[in-house]
């Protein structure tokens, strides 16, 4: 008696047809390749317009597109779980976090800049409102988005523990957590000292204070997820949560690069490389739900594929 099902054949691996994840990887990779070429041309020619236009228009559009993809796919994944299923709660929060990120990206990249794309330019005095929209976008894309993601990943880690596949921190992880923890404490002390010396803080600035502590929590979760994924082996589910880990690590790298630039550790023009971190970070956050969605779709269609002998 013969049977054929790709999921059961020995040479079957973690491969999917040309889907969302492939498209996201291609678009992000192509943009980065062109971006590095623009960076080199800018260094040689010394004309700031090259790099400014590159980030102001194509960069802004790509960030908005990636955050929209992340939100739409997260909603689809969320709807793939029935109400009451433990993973549904986590994906509801991931979808809300992605929605907050999308709204923030639109406000920062579209309404909050001096770009020709800004719709506020068409209204009298509209361009003067750009900084306000930018601040609102930063709060949505910063503390709001990160707080929801932190709770979502905590729920995911709880499920990893229930399944018996929760990984353990390595010595290196503890060192990274201690190092970034010291950075967060130093930043907090600076804020307290400045406050005591009477420095006024704007509301938007104060609302962004929790970003660094939230990033530390997310780093702890990302490292635990990374160890758990490594323990389980390469898979769609592993790629999904691995992509979240990579996205968080890239945001941290960008955050530290901003700090290093402000302290003069990263001199101009190399500090401009920090701008490139946000694109792959957004790409990783779009890839994560994409892998989960592809896994669910593949599993759902496995019966039909079996019946047709695909």
């Amino acid at each position: 008696m013969s049977w054929h099902w790709p999921g059961l054949s020995s040479n079957y691996g973690v491969k999917s047809a040309f889907g969302c994840s492939t498209l996201i990887l291609l678009v992000t990779g192509s943009y980065l390749a062109v971006g590095l070429a623009v960076f080199v041309v800018w260094l040689i020619a010394g004309n700031d317009a090259w790099i400014e236009d590159f980030f102001r228009i194509p960069g802004a559009l790509l960030l908005i597109w990636l955050s929209a993809v992340s939100m739409l796919l997260s909603v689809r994944v969320c709807r793939g779980f029935f109400p009451g299923e433990p993973m549904r709660g986590a994906w509801q929060l991931i979808a809300l976090s992605a929605g907050s990120g999308f709204a923030g990206s639109v406000l920062i990249q579209l309404f909050g800049t001096k770009s020709r794309m800004n719709p506020l330019n068409f209204f009298p005095g509209g361009a003067e409102q750009a900084p306000v929209w930018r601040s609102v976008g930063q709060v949505l894309n910063g503390p709001c988005r990160l707080a929801m993601l932190a709770v979502a990943l905590f729920l995911v880690l709880k499920l990893y523990r229930q399944s018996g596949f929760l990984g353990k921190y390595a010595a290196m992880d503890w060192a990274v957590l201690a190092g970034f923890g010291a950075y967060v404490v130093e930043e907090a002390v600076e804020v307290v000292v400045a406050f005591q010396q009477g420095k006024p803080f704007a509301l938007a600035e104060a609302l962004n204070f929790p970003v660094d502590p939230l990033l530390w929590v997310l780093l702890a979760e990302a490292l635990r997820l990374f160890r758990s994924v490594h323990m389980m082996g390469t898979s769609w589910i592993g790629r999904c949560y691995g992509a979240f880990s990579v996205g968080i690590l890239l945001i941290l790298a960008g955050d530290v690069a901003i700090w290093a630039t402000s302290r003069g550790y990263l001199p101009w023009p190399w500090s401009a490389l920090e701008w490139y971190v946000w694109i792959p970070a957004a790409g990783a956050f779009a890839l994560a739900p994409s892998y989960q969605w592809e896994a669910m779709r593949h599993a759902e269609s496995s019966r039909a594929a079996d019946a047709t002998g695909v």
Binding site: W3, G7, F165, S235, M296, S302, R303, D306
Partner: protein, 125 residues
């Protein structure tokens, strides 16, 4: 009421599947099974029974096949860890694998995958 149910069924794949299953189970006018198919089924059953003297070998083969189905979703090490405590007669195979698949993929996706594993790796093997 019927209209509401029909409208829901038009948009809900899970419920359509349930209705198809229920209809198939209740369908008393099902056509008779062709004699060739019965013969093939009986010969497969005989083959399966004759292999019963080597339960351990069969169980290992079964585990390998189920592992092949689960690995793309959960990973090789996870599949191995889930299948390691399975009894020689394979009786706790699904109870070990299905909950973890359901946890990570959801009831709908995991349900289809588990049905397929049962069908291809256990029933037809």
């Amino acid at each position: 009421m019927e209209k509401m149910v029909s409208r829901h069924l038009a948009g809900c794949e899970a419920c359509r599947l349930e209705v198809r299953r229920l209809s198939a189970a209740l369908d008393t006018a099902a056509p008779p099974i062709p004699a060739d198919d019965v013969g093939e089924l009986l010969s497969s059953l005989r083959e399966w029974e004759s292999g019963g003297s080597q339960p351990k070998r069969n169980c290992e083969a079964l585990k390998r096949r189920v592992a092949g189905a689960v690995e793309p979703y959960l990973g090789k090490a996870a599949a191995h860890a889930l299948l390691q405590p399975v009894h020689e007669d394979g009786r706790n195979l699904l109870s070990n694998v299905a909950p973890v698949l359901t946890m990570f993929l959801g009831r709908r996706a995991a349900g289809n995958l588990v049905s397929c594993v049962v069908d291809a790796a256990i029933v037809r093997f």
